[in-house]
Amino acid sequence: MKIITKSEKETFKLAQKFATKLRGGEVLALIGDLGAGKTAFVKGLAEGLGVKNIITSPTFVLMKGYTAQKQKNKKAKKQLIHIDAYRLSSGKELEDIGATEYFSDKNTIVAIEWADRVKDILPAGVIKINFKILEGDKRKIEIK
């Protein structure tokens, strides 16, 4: 699926809609340059999942977790794990902080920014989302 968004807001909305299709257990690999809209996408994703917290950059701590408030199934609360691999050179460092343990959890959606830097640990069935900067604020987003 290829989509052209014309602004950060459109990227946000796209992710918000995309979030409603997620069942849990998905790992999203977000790949694209600085300013390509990866963070905007994760913010939209969180909104779509019903996360109430403000999504701030996890670059410093590598990983942040949020519980979704909007729940269909109250017993198994969905959570969003936001990972930023910007500073990393391999997936080993993510394994060390226990990030990979979330990969097969069916109540968890994992979004990894700069996932191309930790290719070695991405699970089979990962959803790749590529972001390309076109002219101005236009972005090409490819989901596969």
Binding site: L34, G35, T56, S57, F60, V61, R87, S89, E93
Partner: protein, 382 residues
């Protein structure tokens, strides 16, 4: 009272011993601050180790914390000339931070609290940064800007231990923006000191900015570069202009992600040679943008919430330009101003000890408190 504290939330292993005044609790509760005596504050930094990775590597950090913590504790007690039996309470920072790092300090503190039979106070890292200001008496209410590599928050304080977060970054922390810009310009890690050193060059060396015709919004076309502009207007005369994100927004939130992108776009437009030549200028304007937004919003918050004191803390509070600009604006606005001395701005255990002291005034910690203390990497101030 003697308080012994540990801090290992990121890449500094630290232990401190604090002596607090022996006045009656009722007297202290009325808001009597100050009178604190720091007997020792040992900080073992791993910065040289993490420099080659361009940031803190959690697993490496945790391993070094483990290696260092006992000797740091030993040194803190020895240089304070304090024996474990003399300690009245312990404090440890248990979040937010890197979970693998936090656990070293937290579990060590719990073991010691159990072995020595001392009450253990769990301290929030952000509150500890704020508490680094409490060495001297503070006139409340106060508004504190807490800026570090991982956080940018505005906190309203009614007194020493009742507080409320009133604003925060909605994306990147200010310190993170410094790190990312430093990476863009190949200045190395940590980015904060590197960027401000370059910015300083721009202020002190008499560089007259070349006219940068493209990408200047809202500037008069007739504006020409001043042959020798006064220091304060350097970078503002006719040069690169970066946005001041959210400076006019009604809330007290910040955003630094777009500013980093603006720097990236500006750099992309230039030839590599030109970038190299203009690094000090880019750094200067970037730093001005960050400092202006932080200052404007903090002062506006202080006015809106009727604060008497403006405080600054966190690792980025070591940035000279921010200290000067915020103090200047605070004094102009008729506020008291407080910022910790340089060595108490970056992560250290002394601030955990001070925070622990004030928390112990709020409610007396129990002897078996260690059972409830747990590392919490996502512990946000509310």
């Amino acid at each position: 009272m003697i308080i012994f504290a540990l801090e290992t939330s990121c890449d500094e292993t630290s232990a401190a011993v604090l002596k607090t005044p022996d006045t009656s609790p009722s007297l202290r509760r009325r808001g009597l601050g100050g009178g604190l005596e720091l007997l020792s504050n040992i900080v073992s930094s791993q910065i040289d180790i993490h420099r080659k990775f361009g940031g803190v590597v959690p697993e490496v950090a945790a391993r070094h914390h483990l290696e260092n913590i006992l000797s740091v504790i030993d040194e803190a007690l020895n240089s304070a000339k304090i024996k474990p039996t003399q300690i009245n309470a312990m404090a440890v920072i248990s979040g937010p931070g890197l979970v693998t790092s936090l656990m070293v300090g937290v579990e060590t503190a719990k073991s010691l609290a159990f072995a020595w039979q001392k009450p253990l106070i769990s301290v929030n890292h952000m509150y500890a940064h704020i508490a680094a200001n409490f060495f001297t008496e503070i006139v409340f209410p106060a508004v504190c800007l807490v800026v570090s590599g991982g956080h940018t928050e505005l906190v309203y304080l009614k007194n020493y231990f009742e507080y409320k977060k009133i604003g925060q970054t909605v994306d990147d922390a200010a310190g993170e923006a410094f790190d990312k810009v430093a990476k863009l310009l190949n200045l190395g890690y940590p980015g904060g000191p590197a960027v401000s050193a370059e910015a300083e060059k721009f202020l002190t060396l008499k560089i007259s900015p070349p006219c940068f015709k493209e990408g200047i919004k809202g500037r008069s076309k007739n504006l020409r570069p001043h042959p020798n502009p006064p220091l304060e207007t350097r970078g503002g005369g006719c040069s690169i202009i970066f946005p001041r994100p959210m400076i006019k927004s009604d809330d007290f939130n910040f955003s630094f992600s777009g500013l980093k992108t603006a720097v990236l776009y500006a750099v992309k437009k230039m030839e590599a040679k030109e970038v190299k030549k203009r690094v000090p200028e880019i750094c200067f304007e970037f730093q001005e943008a960050v400092v202006e937004v932080l200052t404007a919003k903090t002062i506006r918050a202080a006015k809106k919430f009727g604060a008497k004191t403006v405080m600054l803390s966190g690792g980025v509070a070591a940035n000279r330009r921010l200290r000067e600009k915020l103090e200047e604006a605070a004094r102009r606005g008729g506020f008291e101003f407080s910022v910790p001395e340089f060595k108490l701005c970056t992560d250290n255990a002394a601030m955990a000890a001070i925070a622990g002291y004030y928390l112990s005034l709020k409610s007396k910690p129990r002897l078996d408190e260690w059972k409830r203390v747990k590392a919490d990497p996502n512990w946000e101030l509310t």
